[in-house]
Every structure is written in C-alpha cells, then in structure tokens.
Amino acid sequence: MSAEKSPELRELSYAEAIREAMDIALGSDPRVILMGEDIGVYGGAFQVTGDLVHKYGTDRVMDTPISELGGAGVAVGAALTGLRPIFEFQFSDFAALAMEQIVNQAAKVRFMLGGAVSVPLVMRFPAGSGTGAAAQHSQSIEAWLGHVPGLKVVQPSTPEDAKGMLLAALDDPDPVMIFEHKILYKMKGHVPEGRYTTPIGKAAVRREGKDVSIVATSLMVHKALSAADQLASEGIDCDVIDLRTVRPMDRETVLASVRKTGRLICVYEGVKTLGVGAEVSAMVAESDAFDFLDAPIVRLGGSESPIPYNPELEKAVVPQVPDILEAARNIAKGQI
C-alpha cells in the first residue's frame, strides 16, 4: 500500500493472514471446520491452509475428494445444522461445478423457510488471472455470485483485510463468498495481531484525490494505486476506492467520491459486460451523484473472451496500469 511502512508494524503475506484468521477461528470456536481439496497435509493448492491440519487434526481440517458439488453440499448441510465450515475451492473456476448447491441451496434456504434457519457458510475462491493457468483456472466470477440474493460477496485486496474479512465472514449468519486474487497471496502488508474484523459492505478509500474517482476491486486496487502515483506527478489527483465488497455494495462511499471528483473510472478484472463496473456505474447514474458528473463514466474490465494461456495475451485481456493511465488522462482532459 502507499502508506509509509513503519518498522515496528508486523507484516504477513496475504496467504499467511488468511491462515492466521483460520487459526484464530479454529482455536476459539469448536464449530469451525475447514473443508477442501488437498488442504490437509499438502496445505492447499496455494498453501493457504499450510500446516493447520497438524495443529487441529483431520476432523477439523478435512481433505475432501475432488467433488465440488458434493463438498459444497456437505458444507451447506453442516452450516445449516450448526457448524461453521470454511470451504476452499482450489480455483474459483470450479465453483461452476458447485453452483446448484451455492445458488439454489445455500443462498435460498433461509428465505424459502421464512427465516427459520441460517446458513453460516464461508467459501473461499482463489481467483483471477496472471498465473499462466489459462481459461479454466483464471476467471474472475464474483459477479456471477453477486447476482444472487442471499449471498454476500467480498474481495479483500490487502493482507489486513483478508484476515479481518474472513473473521467477519465467520461472524456472519449468512453465506459469505470470499474471492482471493491468486497474485495477492504472496503480497506482504501490515496485519494486526489477534482477533479483529473488517466490516463486510464497507469500501475503503485507499487514496484521497479531487480530480478522478477510481473504483477498483481486488488486484486492480493495486494497479489503480500505482497509476494514481504516476498521475499525481502529472497533476491528476485520484481518489482510489477499494470496493472490498461486491454485495452488499457500499453506495455511500462511492457516491461521496463521485460528488467530490465528478469523474468515475471503474476497474475490475471480471468480464466488463454485465460486471461489477456496470453495477457501480448504474448506482451512480441512478443517484444524485449523476448531477456531479463532468464526463461519461469509464469502465475498464476484462475483455469479451476467455483468459488465454500465452502470457502476453493474458495481460492483454485484463486492465493494466497503462490502461488506467490513459483513461484517467482522457477523462481529466474531458476527452471522453
């Protein structure tokens, strides 16, 4: 992050921060269990679970077969009847196999039963491109799940939030879907010790500026901050909002920023059309903040294609820092 690092602040990687949250949860609440493919002795596909199985045993850190649908279903049933499962998908793309249980069961049971039950389920989805893993291991599908009433969908972008939002998700009585960008797993940052929560549904202003609002999610927050640093030297002062939660979206923080700057760029890795940026844009267009706009809204999202394998092509299908720079210069000059 752009904040200056002070030496006494403890740093952890994003993956370590998640592990610490799970460790705290397992240690303090006997209802918490971890489920997922190869999360036991292997430690998880991205080594997020690490050695927790040795500390808590195989009843609490459960390796599941490669059965996303069944695993998700068992997690829903366990949550419905009193446990607090954290279910890890190896890659968020595999959620497609489990959509029935997530969308028709987890999201709807409370409603269908008139509020008689609760599904306090946490699901973790390693997401996003940049690893050369091609079309079936690189998608950003948060908008799919964000479209389902009954689910909360979050995208922490820092180690501190990754820990705090996971603990907040465990406190939540409803299903919370956490999208973790794979490129962020090794990113280090300050993580407070002990137990704390980062509220779900609240965006974070990562940088204050008066000229252009950049509303970004997940890894794109870091690209937006990097672009904002360069833009500052050109005299363009950006407000960078880390959306953090896709559903429920923090309307007030976004609208306040737009009222201040009069210019909005949405940056997100999911497919641009019908994506998170469409919702942010509509939210602004439907509000009084629309009257403050001095330029059309710009969306920078994933291209209308699957994620390709070739590294250069892979970079080309998601927004990069130069794309943000160009959009911000144009919007600031009124050239859009």
Binding site: G73, V74, L80, T81, Q105, F111, M112, V117, D172
Partner: protein, 327 residues
Amino acid sequence: MSASDNKHNREDYLRMYRQMVRIRTFEDNANQLYLSAKMPGLTHMYSGEEAVAVGICEALTDSDRITSTHRGHGHCVAKGADFQAMFCELLGKEEGYCRGKGGSMHIADQSHGNLGANAIVGGSMGIATGSALRAKLQKSDDVTVCFFGDGATAQGLLYEVMNMAALWNLPVIYACENNGYSEYTATAEIAAGSITDRARAFGIEAFEVDGQDVLAVNELTRELTGRCRRGEGPFFIELQTYRYHGHHVGDINREYYRPKAEEKDWKESRDPIEKFTQWLTGEGIASTDELEAMKAEISDDAASAVDYALKAKYPETHEVDMHVFAD
C-alpha cells in the same frame, strides 16, 4: 406382514396407522385445494407411499433429522408436523411453516427435525450428509435420513456424497423411494443396473424392502438407526412403492406413460393403509370400528385445518425483503 409382541406394541402400531391415514387425508385435501384453484403453484402427491415415510419416521426421534423432496408432504406429516401450519403454508399464509415463502415444495418443520423439502431433484443429498457430518463431529448421536426418489439416483451429487459418507462413516441413511417413475418416465428407462449395487460399490450396506409394508420398513429402519448411533453408518435403503397420482396434481391423463391397469393393481392389492388395516384387525389389535372412528376424527381435523388456513391472513407484501439475510 410380520411382527412379534403384537399386543405390547399396540400404541406404536396405532400411531403408525394414524400417521399413514393423516398423510392420505392431508393429500386428499391438498388435491382438492389445488383442483378447486384455491392453491397456487404446483404440488406433488405422496398418496400410496405412506408406509415409507411413516415406517422410517416412526423409527426416529425429534433430534433425528430428515431431508425431504418435492413430494414431501408425507415426510413432513410423518415427522410430526401439524395440519394447520402445513395447510397455511400450502395456501401461502403467514402462519405457514415458512411464512408462505416456501409453499408445498419447500415445506419444513425445524421443531421436529425436518430440515426441509427440496424442489431440486436430489438437491438435499448434500444437506443430509452435512447434517450427519455435524452429528459425527459434535459427537451427537442423532441420525439423518435423506429421502429421495428413483429419479434422483441419476444425479451425480448422490455419488459424490455417498463417497464422503462412506469414507467418513457418517450416521446417514439414504432412503430411495422407488415409485417406478422418474417424473413421466419409467424408472427402467433411466436407471441402468441395480440401484442398491451403486451404494454397495462404495462399501455402503444396502437393503431392499417392500415400501408398502410399514412394519417391515419400520423394523429395518430401527435396526439401521441403532447401528448408525453406534458409528456403523452410512446405510442405503431402496423402498419399492407407488405413487397413486401423476407426477404432479396436473398430471391427470397419463396413460401414455403409465397403464391404468397397473395403477388399479397397486391400489387394490398393495395399498399400504389397507394392508395394515387387515393386519391390525386380523391380529386383534384394533377393530374395524376403532380404525374407522380414527379416520373420521382425522378427516374432521383436516377439514377444520383447511377451513382455518383458508381464512388465515397472507403475509404483508413488505415481508418480501425479509429473510433474504438475517438482518
């Protein structure tokens, strides 16, 4: 039918009889509500399959859980639900089990351990298995029964969760109600090989039982719930049964997929309530008059519950935003 110690178990037998008649009576009333356009949506009748739900649920306690299906009224009644809240739910009323939000296909009753009906064929198999995982991890001795039909055996979810249940020795009983038809298609056309052998392939002990014989179903289930409580689960039961109505209440002209003679034969020679009536009277456990009086009393109960539900109020429309989330 066979059972020992007849007199001793008189109360149990009469309760089973009562529950079977309650299901049949509930369904007759629900069918009328639908046909007279007083009930929205669609509904699937359990009539003909009463011995399955009752034989199984009478072997369970209120702490034991079940998951149910789109054809779920029978499970709900058998697990202890009351007519009034059920009819209110079918009619979309505020006092229904789901405040009118679930209807026939999502009817549930947490107080008696009915986790809910499910309108996705096979959709509750994961929930039942997860409930059993919870029981094992929390060292609770309850058992979960997962009801589903022969049609649901074609869903992949069943095999994913049976694998996990077998690996982890979960206290769950998969109860396949084979009524011979997967919606509008004969089961023989959609199910290859043996259904029970599929469970056996996972090392799960599997049983076939006459689903029209309430005592046989009950005896087997009592044995298997006991074994589940001792950590010997999971188990699989295939129950041969028959649905008297079509797939749903609107499926009336169905000779193109199911012959009338077949329906007649099951109704006249294998009706579960009639079979049990003959046994109860033959064994001297109850007289015909007693059983008829019980039927009349249940019929009156149902009529007043329907009457109450028809007059009950609908939820306020602002409730549509409620129960999506806890807050």
